[in-house]
Amino acid sequence: MRDALGVGVAVGLSGFAFGVTSAGSGLTLLQTCALSLLVFTGASQFALVGALAAGGGPFTAAAGAFFLGVRNAFYGLRLSQLLALPRAVRPFAAQWVIDETAAVALAQPTRRSARIGFLVTGLSLYVLWNLTTLLGALGAEALGDTDAWGLDAAGPAVFLALLAPMLKTGTERVVAGLAVLLGLGLLPLLPAGVPVLLAALAAPVVLWADGRRKGQGDQG
């Protein structure tokens, strides 16, 4: 219960931060709310408005958001076995397949409690995320110059907070380091949005190098 409350507060705050960031990036109230209602996966939304604000084209911006959303497919895979949803329900359940609902459902001991956990977390976060997005977008207009309030630091802080728990082993740290170098190094050279996509290549490159090293280790 305390966990659920903690998740709720965190999601509420990032929803607010998203609303503010999105409005600060030049999106209208309607566009901001459409993103939270229809995309409903926070990191992708932050990435999209950030890329658009930096002057990225619509397709490069969307591509970055899409690749960040790919992880939800893997949550879905594990959830579909666990929840065993009827086929007709899946298109509706799909929208709620995100980090938080997967974490809660996968932690449950039985199928029944996993289904309840998924439903309750999904519904409450969907309502909260959209409500706080709206408040944030409205608040941004009232605040005026959002940069003076330091709110442009909210986006990267959210990314860092999502990233930190993923840096479990050396492999993840090397990927992160290489991605930072690529992302910053290519920034002055290529059109906005493209450097991030190329930085994503750090993942397969490091994975490949890792595999090779292990292969050689097996032989020697």
Partner: protein, 102 residues
């Protein structure tokens, strides 16, 4: 108009991957390489995005108040502060440094 195109493409793409996970037969994506890649892709993207949104001003790299804010967020994360405090630290320190005229 461009913004709406970006929104539309993102909406379709993000929904499609969510649905795909629920619909594809188990085992299709269970190969270890695919799973490893899926775990590492967000690491690369988040790291690059964090760096860019901290140090980029358009297409030039700058060191400004955001860097101090992100440093504060990093310290908060190392102290195992909750998500709320991490973001608040970044926002407050960035605003503070700007107010001091940096």
């Amino acid at each position: 108009m461009n913004v709406w195109i970006a929104i539309g493409v993102t909406v379709l793409g993000c929904y499609a991957v969510k649905l795909a996970g629920l619909l594809v037969p188990a085992g299709a994506l269970e190969r270890p390489v695919v799973k490893r890649l899926a775990a590492l892709l967000p690491v690369a993207l988040l790291a690059a995005l964090t760096a860019q949104q901290t140090f980029a001003d358009g297409q030039t790299l700058v060191l400004d108040a955001r860097a101090a804010g992100l440093g504060a967020a990093a310290v908060a994360l190392m102290l195992r502060a909750p998500f709320l405090l991490v973001v608040a630290a970044a926002v407050l320190v960035t605003a503070g440094v700007r107010a001091m005229g940096a």
